[in-house]
């Protein structure tokens, strides 16, 4: 546990989620979520399939809109402009700007197949941030080196293994220098022998003090790397706290039965 970065108790809030509900048609997917993530925290979210973990993550990145409640990123309300007690939807362009402060790593990688590894990583800085080309290439190469793929820079995604693709995807998310990195089950689509290399990269990032929110089924990893564990079921947060405590002595009956099955 020693190497894990622990944010100070008074570290400023990075994400604040207040009373968030989400409906898909008549299906009530998120049922009143309240959550606060401080800067530098590694928040791991566990829970059974269909509990709303991924949806919550996608709401923070505004890939899904929310039906009720508020989400603040670094104190800024996202998705809306609030004036005189009324909410106005933000235009798509404004949302795109807000999205730059969140990086997302997808379960199925979603690398751009027509671009090489280094082109995938530099696409955001080059086109969205308008970083000069030479600078973007230099930064992208650095990031690829950090995820251990310096020698694969000019490979296309189809030429890389699943684990390598996911590491490129992490580098791509990092390239935008987001305030928070969101991981949506980053190892669920990988062969068992490739899971380790991706977890190693995430573990390395966790030590640098980047704020992260990781939806995962890897309980061991959650205990080792996380410093804030959230257990979700049925669209609600049933229990949260320091991972070691929650996993060793869950208070909620649902958490107990879930952990008994997966441990």
């Amino acid at each position: 546990m020693d190497a894990i970065f622990n944010p100070a108790d008074d570290a400023p809030e990075c994400v604040r989620i207040k009373g968030v509900h989400k409906f898909f048609g008549a299906v009530h997917v998120l049922r009143g979520i309240d959550l606060s993530i401080r800067r530098g925290e590694v928040c791991v979210v566990i829970g059974p399939s269909g509990s709303g973990k991924s949806t919550l993550l996608r709401c923070i990145n505004q890939l899904e809109g929310i039906s009720a409640g508020r989400i603040y990123l670094n104190g800024e309300l996202i998705g809306y402009r609030e004036a005189n007690g009324r909410l106005n939807s933000l235009p798509e362009a404004k949302i795109a700007v807000q999205r730059r402060s969140t990086g997302m790593v997808f379960q199925r990688f979603n690398l751009f197949p027509h671009k090489t590894a280094v082109e995938n990583v530099m696409e955001g800085p080059l086109k969205v941030k308008k970083t000069p080309r030479a600078e973007a290439i230099r930064r992208a190469s650095e990031l690829l080196e950090r995820v251990g793929l310096a020698d694969r820079a000019n490979y296309y995604p189809t030429q890389l293994s699943g684990g390598q693709q996911q590491r490129v995807a992490i580098a791509r998310a990092m390239a935008m220098e987001p305030n928070i990195l969101l991981f949506d089950e980053p190892t669920s689509a990988l062969d068992p022998e490739l899971v380790g290399e991706v977890l190693d990269v995430i573990r390395g990032l966790a030590k640098t003090g980047i704020t992260m929110m990781v939806v995962t089924h890897e309980i061991g990893f959650a205990r080792e790397v996380g410093n804030h564990l959230v257990f979700m079921d049925g669209g609600m947060i049933l229990e949260e706290g320091p991972p070691a405590e929650v996993i060793a002595a869950p208070k909620n009956a649902r958490t107990q039965s879930f952990l008994a099955k997966v441990l």
Binding site: N61, A93, G103, K129
Partner: protein
């Protein structure tokens, strides 16, 4: 060359990279004493040889008749293949093909965006266009374009309840050439719009999400991420349509536009009372242009297949 333990060397003596992603390449001829390839006797296929024999005989008969049947008038074909009028016809055919395709592509891209728009009016207009232009014969449409000046002799733009901005004779704007290009282009747009739509749909929805997640807006996502991947699906059928368009230009007489290749060869044929050699002249030219277009299509496919179809080549 050793073949033991970790000391594995490849075909040309460089060390072979070990690991999941680098499959080991071995030339069996370099290990003659170790690997004896099975080399089984293939299953005999006498039917194939008989088929080849029959086809050869048929081909010889066709060639023989081509060479000896005087009704082909090969001397006429030779003397008119590079005739001034024929060459001018080719030029006009190419001009109309290219311009009609440009009109079609621009219109089809707009139709595709409209079809996927959140605005129901735009969606309906796009649907209506496809329904109308795909649902009537292109010949009918061309005649209609030609008769536009009968339908509306003058085109004028007027501010409602206000002054007239300008007014033109329809026949000055919709000349036969313009009518031919618009008629062919608008009709083609209906088909291309469906092809483009299929192409865009073929791109995984995760790509749009990934582009959004790095902060890209709608337009940039379309041009940097979706379109390049959709092109892989769009190009083969669009190549088909371009070749189709080249030949459909032979219908522009309906407008009537009277300078294209088919019209030129028909005119000469009527003058000489020899239709067959001039059909061969136009056929050879259409074939030649199609062949050139196919070469172009091949290179376009290679470009947009980057990372998917030609990844293996690129790795070298």
């Amino acid at each position: 060359m050793s073949f033991a333990g970790s000391d594995i060397t490849g075909a040309r003596g460089q060390p072979v990279k070990q690991g999941r992603s680098a499959l080991q390449k071995t030339d069996p001829r370099e290990f003659p004493n170790r690997i004896i390839l099975n080399n089984p006797t293939p299953v005999p296929h006498p039917g194939r040889w008989i088929a080849v024999g029959l086809l050869c005989i048929a081909a010889m008969l066709v060639l023989w008749s081509l060479a000896t049947n005087p009704n082909f008038h090969w001397d006429v074909v030779r003397s008119y293949l590079f005739d001034q009028q024929v060459l001018r016809g080719i030029l006009w055919t190419l001009v109309i093909t290219v311009m009609a395709m440009v009109v079609a592509i621009v219109a089809a891209v707009s139709l595709t965006f409209m079809r996927d728009s959140e605005n129901p009016v735009l969606r309906f207009v796009s649907w209506l266009w496809v329904w109308l232009f795909r649902g009537t014969p292109v010949y009918t449409q061309l005649v209609f374009w030609g008769l536009l000046s009968v339908l509306y002799p003058r085109i004028s733009v007027t501010v409602p309840f206000g002054p007239q901005l300008f007014s033109l004779e329809t026949i000055d704007v919709f000349t036969p050439g313009v009518s031919a290009v618009l008629g062919l282009g608008f009709n083609e747009a209906a088909y291309l719009a469906e092809i483009f739509r299929a192409g865009f749909r073929s791109v995984d929805s995760g790509q749009k999400e990934a582009a959004k997640s790095i902060g890209m807006g709608k337009t940039m996502t379309m041009f940097r991420i979706i379109l390049p991947q959709a092109m892989r699906m769009i190009i083969p059928p669009t190549g088909n349509e371009t070749i189709g368009m080249l030949k459909t230009t032979s219908l522009v007489l309906a407008v009537p536009f009277a300078f294209d290749l088919t019209f030129a060869t028909n005119t000469i044929a009527n003058r000489l009372y020899l239709p067959i050699p001039l059909l061969i002249v136009s056929g050879l030219w259409y074939l030649a242009i199609t062949s050139i277009l196919m070469v172009g299509q091949h290179f376009l496919e290679q470009h947009f297949g980057k990372g998917v179809d030609v990844a293996a080549i690129h790795q070298e």
